[in-house]
Symmetry: D2
Subunit: 205 residues, 4 copies
Amino acid sequence: MPLKALALNATLKTSESKDASSTDRMIDLIDKAMSAHGVETGVLRLADFNVKPGVTSDEGAGDDWPDIRAKVLGADILVMATPIWLGQPSSVCKRALERMDAFLEETDDQGRMVSYGRVAAVAVVGNEDGAHHVSAELFQALNDVGFTIPANAVAYWVGEAMGSTNFVDLDKVPKVVTKAVDMLARNTAHLAGLLKAKQYPGEGS
Amino acid sequence: MPLKALALNATLKTSESKDASSTDRMIDLIDKAMSAHGVETGVLRLADFNVKPGVTSDEGAGDDWPDIRAKVLGADILVMATPIWLGQPSSVCKRALERMDAFLEETDDQGRMVSYGRVAAVAVVGNEDGAHHVSAELFQALNDVGFTIPANAVAYWVGEAMGSTNFVDLDKVPKVVTKAVDMLARNTAHLAGLLKAKQYPGEGS
Amino acid sequence: MPLKALALNATLKTSESKDASSTDRMIDLIDKAMSAHGVETGVLRLADFNVKPGVTSDEGAGDDWPDIRAKVLGADILVMATPIWLGQPSSVCKRALERMDAFLEETDDQGRMVSYGRVAAVAVVGNEDGAHHVSAELFQALNDVGFTIPANAVAYWVGEAMGSTNFVDLDKVPKVVTKAVDMLARNTAHLAGLLKAKQYPGEGS
Amino acid sequence: MPLKALALNATLKTSESKDASSTDRMIDLIDKAMSAHGVETGVLRLADFNVKPGVTSDEGAGDDWPDIRAKVLGADILVMATPIWLGQPSSVCKRALERMDAFLEETDDQGRMVSYGRVAAVAVVGNEDGAHHVSAELFQALNDVGFTIPANAVAYWVGEAMGSTNFVDLDKVPKVVTKAVDMLARNTAHLAGLLKAKQYPGEGS
C-alpha cells in the first residue's frame, strides 16, 4: 500500500480569492517530489473550512475540523504549510495546531497518541524573514502532539529583508529551494515508510 | 484628559461559554491596577466578534475588525491578553495581530504609523509553560506595528510543568503575580503619559 | 551492536561547582530510562571544556570541540540538555549548536550531512517557564543540522510562574516527568534503531 | 547633558579577525544616525572580552563583565547587535543577556531595577532569515531585565532564503535599511530623552 500525504494550506485566503497562493506553489513542488517516491498526495485549504476555535476534536454544530482531522489521521505524512505574517505562522495555521492539542488525550491503552507513527514536514513562504521561527514553532507543536520530524523537514522561501516579492511571482524556483524540497520529500517518505512498517512501542514494552 | 486602556481578551471561548476565562481574571487585575493610576479601562473579548482573516484594516462584509481597530486606536494603551496553547499565543490573538499588520502602511506624512505614541503591555495565562515565548512573540509583533513597550510589560501566570490548574481556579492570586501586575500598570501608565504629552518626531525632524 | 547515546549538559556551571546541576538530574533520569532499552549512555558537561566561538568544526589551538564533535558523531542519539535562562536556552547550549552549523557543509557524495541517521532528544529544566520555547529552538536547530526528532522528544520540568525551586531540590520526581522521560527514551531508542538499520537515501536515489 | 548610547557587538569574531564584521557595519549606520540626534555613541565587541558564564554581576577572577556592565549602566541607550546563526541570536549575545539576568535582583528601595529608565534597540544581520525571531527573543529578554523598547526598535538585514551574501559585502546599503535605521535612531533618542527627564515611578507611588 502506498504512503499517503496530506498538506494543509494555512494561507489566509480562500480558494475563491483571485490571488494565487504562494503557499500552494510550495505545496505543489513538495507534492511532485513526494509523488516521485510513490507517495499519494492531497491538499486542503484550511481557509475554505469553518475550523472553530477550541482544543477538542469536535467543537459542535458547523465545525469542519472532524472531517479534516479524519484526513490528517488517514495519512502517513502531514505537510503543514503556512505563509509568514509578522515573522510568525498564520492564525489559520495556529488554529489547526490548537485543534490537534486534543491528540494529547487521545491515546491507546499503551499511551500512544492517535497521531503516533505519522511524520510531519513543514513548508513556509513569505515576502521576507521568518521561516526558521515558523519551523521552530511548528516542529515543537507537531512534535508535542505526536508527530515525528525527519531530518531537514522544512522547505521555505523568503525574499531579502523587507522585500515584497511573492514566491508565486518568481519566474523560476531557485535551485536551493528545489534541493530543499527534494531532500524533504526523500527524507519524509523514507521515515514514514520505516514507522509505518514498525510503529513506536507503547508503555510497558 | 485621562489615559485610556483597551484590553483585547484572546481566549478561544466566547462570552456565552459557561467556563470562566482565566485571561479575564488577569485582565481584571490589570484594569484595577491601572485604574489606581487614573487610567480608564475597557475590554473586548475577540471570540465574540467576527474578525475575518486578512492583513488589511477592512476585510469587507461582516468584518468586525474595523470597529475593534477604532477602539484600539482610540486608546493610549493596548493590553494584549492571551491564553497559552501548545506553548504559544492563541489563534485568536494571532488573528488580531495580523490585522494590525496593516498599520505598517498606514503612516502620516512624516512616516509615523497610526499606532505611534501608543504603549502595549501583555498578559498571559496558561496551565503550564509558555509565557516568556508568548511575550516574546507579542512584543516583537506589537513593536513591528508601532507600539512602544514599557519596562517589565508582561504579567503572567502558569502552573508547574504539565499541570492542569487554571488561573481562574486559584484561591488566591500569588503575590508575585500581584507585584508584576502593579509594576506593569505603573510603568505602562507612566510611559503612555510621557508619549501622549510628547509624540515621536517624524521623518525629517 | 547496542545503540549509543550522548548527552550534552549545557549548564553554565563547571563540574567543580559545589552546586548540583538540575540538568544533570534530568539527564540521569533519561540515561536510566534509555539503559532499560539497551542503550549505552554517556554525558559531557560542556562548561568543563573550551568550546571556542565559531561555526567551523575546528577553531584551532585550544579548541575542545573537535573531540566533542567526534563523540556526537560516534553516538546514534544526541540528548541536548539545557537549563532555561530568561526563558531561553543557555549560551553554552547555543555555542554547541553553532558549532554543529558546520554539518551543513559536511555532506557525503549523495548530499547527506555527517549527522544523518542520528536522532536527537531534548531535556530542559528551569525554576520556571520556558521549556516549550527551548524545545522549539532546539528542535529547529538540530533538525536544520541533520538530526531526526522522534515523537514527544522533550522531557522537561519547570516550577510555577516566577518560582525559585530547582529541579535538583525536589524531594520526588513528579510522575508526569517520569512518564515523559520514559516516553522520550522509548521513542528515541526505537527510532534510532530503525534509522541505524536503514539510513536515509541520498540524492539521486 | 547629551544622551549616551552603547552598542554591544555580539559577533563570534574577535577584532583580530581579518574578516570585517557585518554587525559592525549595521552598528556604524545606527551610530551615525544617532549622532545626528546628538547622541554620544560607543561600541564594545563582546568577543574581545572574557565574559564568563553565569547569572551574577561578577563571576570572579578574570571576568570582564563587571566593566562592560558599568558601561551598559553608564549609557541611556543599549543597542544589542547580533549576527544570526541557525536562525537565532549568537551564543555571545545570549551570554551577555544571561549576565543581565542579575538586574532582576538589583533593585532600589522602590523595586526598580538598576536598568530602569534605559532604552534598548536591536540590530540584526545575517546571510538569510531569522531577524524577526532574534528581535523577539531580544525584546523579551531585554524587557524582562528592565529596558524599555521604543516603537520600531529593530534594524536588520538578511538576504534571500538560503543565501550566502554578507551585509558587509553589499555595495550599497538598501534604502529600506537606511529608513529603518533612521526610524530606530529617531525613536530611541526621543524615548531615552523622555525617560531620562522623567524616570519610572517606584512601588508605592
